[in-house]
Amino acid sequence: MSRLFGTLMLFASLLAAGCDSAAPAPQNATPTTPAAPTAAAPAAQPASRGIIGVSLLTLDNPFFRVIGDNITAEGKRSGYETIVVSADGNVSKQHDQLKDFIVKKVAAIVLSPAESKSIVPAIQEANKAGIPVFTVDIPCNEPNVKIVSQIATDNEGGGRDGGLLMIEALGAEAGGKVGVLHAQSRESARLRVKGFKSVLDEHNAKHPGKFEVVAIVEGDGAKEVGYTATLDMMQAHPEITGIFAINDPSALGARTALEKLGKADNVKIIGFDGQPDGKKAILEGKIFGDPIQHPDVMGVEVVKAIVKQQNGETPEPRLQLPTERYRKAEAEKEAKAMKTPAPS
């Protein structure tokens, strides 16, 4: 019995030690940047205004990490603590995370829904508890939920930017046959493809050089799926000279496939997002260009909306951030700026 007790105590103390050493980690994780030397500095350090609970679709994708990091940083500046968790694309996990936030009585909940229909009951619980809910990147447009503000990229506009880049890549006069790497289950991808097609249609109505979408295949927004889908697509339509991929991973998959087929120089690729890998590929000329999103701005805008709401004002119910066209020229400019550090 005493041996059993001893082992128990050992077990418990190990556990306690584990938790204790873990506790300061969040503070270490975000290096304490000294407050910017502005007049507002003293006012920027009010007593904690509470916690922002953030549940993002997945932290495997660097895109969402950037959103989370920026919410944390901007939140700190405005006097909030932030907890960022990953739903790992799993809506039941996200449901539990939201319920945890409610118990923790957070000041605000930010989420990018893993499944906008199935997350409804959890949002309703937050509404019932009086905790304001915000979405970032992925909106939730279901009835019977109250969401203070939805912040996302203007995906259709981004798709239009993608169309413009495609016209630029293949030449407005020359035209060409185009393939699309889709991710049909995602609403964002559907909007992107819609915008992309509409620009090509408008162009075709006015110019002699015609662009024709000859194939739309499922790339699932993933590198390996994009790779095999591109191989199949090029087999069926060897005449394709341009590929529009709905995100960077699938665009990079397409590039690998074209390299394997020896067609890398004949086919231009337009990606989407402007993730670090994508930007690097643009700099190296492997991808022609991207409509780039601004996950950092999204994170900052969410916190601004929260602050506005908590100050008793009413933030914009929807904020659609425009994309920007990013080509080799912009990539080189950015690379140069990185090399010569900004004057401090």
Partner: protein, 462 residues
């Protein structure tokens, strides 16, 4: 050997007399105490409670007839309750409520204007937490010279561990309910020496089948409770059939349980995806949430009541019936059990069917919680269920284990997860701690069984 195993039932009963037989129970208690201490903090009052406490504080400080303005946020039921209660309590004791505002800064400003127009100096502005931080109050004396010099008051707070709040405790049990339910079946399968990897996928299948039936056959949003119940049973039955199939494969064809249930995991998930085309099935009545999110009996969530009933039944089955003894016997030594007349084949098949049925129940609970069915529900739940079983002291080698131990195991995992969230442990560390806890639990189990010596060093030079 066989006689020893056959009397396991009695042995378990005698062991239950001491807490020692549930080695993990003290660990659970220690964890609860630890997190209670760590989360001992200032608690905000909410709703009617906040209203009552505020009224008492205001009357105490400003005498029986103060003039009060009440400010709260919109879109929040607790805040509305705060306002109604406070207003009613103040008025009944003779105080003046000059104006109330449930809304944004603009509304609050209008309320102040109303109070100024009424002409009586305002003694107190009673705010809830968030409005109290509005910049509106910073220059109150300058911006509103005719208001009197009101004091901004928020509801009084109190100290209490955040971990030990009713809402947190019901949250812990509710979040673990699905995993704890499937862990019952998993415990029995593991005690027979098997394993079932298909439970997570079966949850998704059951959720999808029952919601699809409601949506497409039962009238969608207008489905009656009877239709919902029948659809749920259909989903559960489908999972039972899948379990029957696994059991038959494992026993009749002597295929390894690991491989059979791995295949069933893929098959069930695939069927669910095919049925839904990977979209959520959400066209179900609002009342479908009753099982997963309702709380009718003393505010205990309905799914937790279901969970407790299932554990009670399973406990009786395992410890007070012949079938229960057979299950232990089969896991201890199936050959010996067969020779002693235990219907080994039927016992094993029974455990897989039960495991399937319980997964089906779990699927219905989850679908109800999320008010929809989707093929990507319950990913990795099989591993969490196995972890709960093992943490609860059941041996993966079979023949040993306790149903209530599994419940404790599941609770330990839920307590750790929720506790870490409440104490602001970051995400990556949470995974590490959870992994370490599972490992320690198994280690503890191994030590216990070898009499607290290093099991691998027995017989080596000491």
């Amino acid at each position: 050997m066989e006689t020893e195993k056959l009397t396991t039932g009695r042995r378990v009963r005698t062991q239950f007399m001491g807490i020692v037989s549930y080695g993990m129970l003290p660990v659970l208690l220690l964890l609860c105490i630890y997190f209670s201490v760590r989360t001992y903090s200032e608690q905000q009052r909410e709703g009617a409670d906040a209203g009552r406490a505020s009224a008492a504080a205001i009357l105490k400080q400003f005498g029986p007839h103060p003039c009060v303005v009440i400010v709260a946020q919109k879109d929040s039921p607790p805040e509305a309750e705060f306002v109604t209660t406070l207003q009613q309590q103040l008025r009944s004791s003779g105080a003046t409520v000059a104006a109330t505002s449930i809304g944004d800064v603009g509304d609050a400003r209008r309320a102040l204007k109303t109070a100024v127009d009424a002409g009586k100096p305002v003694d107190v502005v009673a705010c809830t937490q968030v409005p109290a931080a509005w910049p509106l109050w910073k220059n109150l004396a300058k911006d509103w010279p005719n208001l009197g010099k009101p004091k901004i008051m928020t509801p009084p707070t109190y100290m209490w561990p955040n971990f030990l709040t009713l809402s947190n405790l019901s949250n812990i049990t509710e979040r673990i309910s699905v995993i704890a339910i499937i862990a019952i079946g998993m415990t029995m399968v593991i005690i027979t020496g098997g394993i079932d990897l298909s439970v997570g996928s079966l949850i998704a299948l059951s959720a999808v089948v029952s919601t699809l039936l409601i949506q497409n056959v039962g009238g969608g949003q207008n489905a009656t409770p009877m239709v919902m119940i029948l659809s749920s049973f259909a989903g559960i039955a489908v999972c039972g059939l899948m379990g029957l199939f696994s059991g038959a494969m494992v026993t009749v064809f002597r295929l390894p349980a690991f491989i059979v249930t791995l295949s069933m995991m893929l098959i069930a998930r695939g069927i669910a995806q095919k049925l839904t085309h990977s979209e959520a099935v959400a066209d179900v009545p609002a009342s479908y949430k009753w099982l997963g999110l309702g709380a009718d009996l003393f505010n205990i969530p309905n799914c937790v009541v279901l969970l407790l009933i299932l554990y009670a039944v399973a406990y009786v089955l395992m410890h007070y019936t012949v079938l229960g003894r057979y299950i232990y016997a089969v896991g201890g030594n199936s050959e010996a059990a067969r020779l002693s007349g235990v219907p080994v084949l039927r016992v094993i098949i029974f455990t897989y069917v039960l495991c399937g049925l319980l997964s089906g129940v779990g699927g219905v609970v989850l679908a109800s919680k999320l008010k929809s069915g989707s093929a990507n529900y319950a990913l990795m739940y099989e591993l969490y269920a196995i972890a709960a079983v093992v943490v609860g002291g059941t041996s993966l080698a079979g023949g040993e284990g306790k149903i209530l131990g599994t419940l404790i195991g599941a609770l330990i995992m839920a307590v750790i997860q929720t506790g870490m969230l409440l104490t602001n442990v970051d995400l990556d560390t949470q995974n590490i701690v959870l992994g370490v806890v599972i490992l320690l639990a198994v280690l503890f189990d191994a030590f216990k069984r070898s009499g607290f010596r290093f099991p691998g060093l027995r017989g080596e030079a000491n």
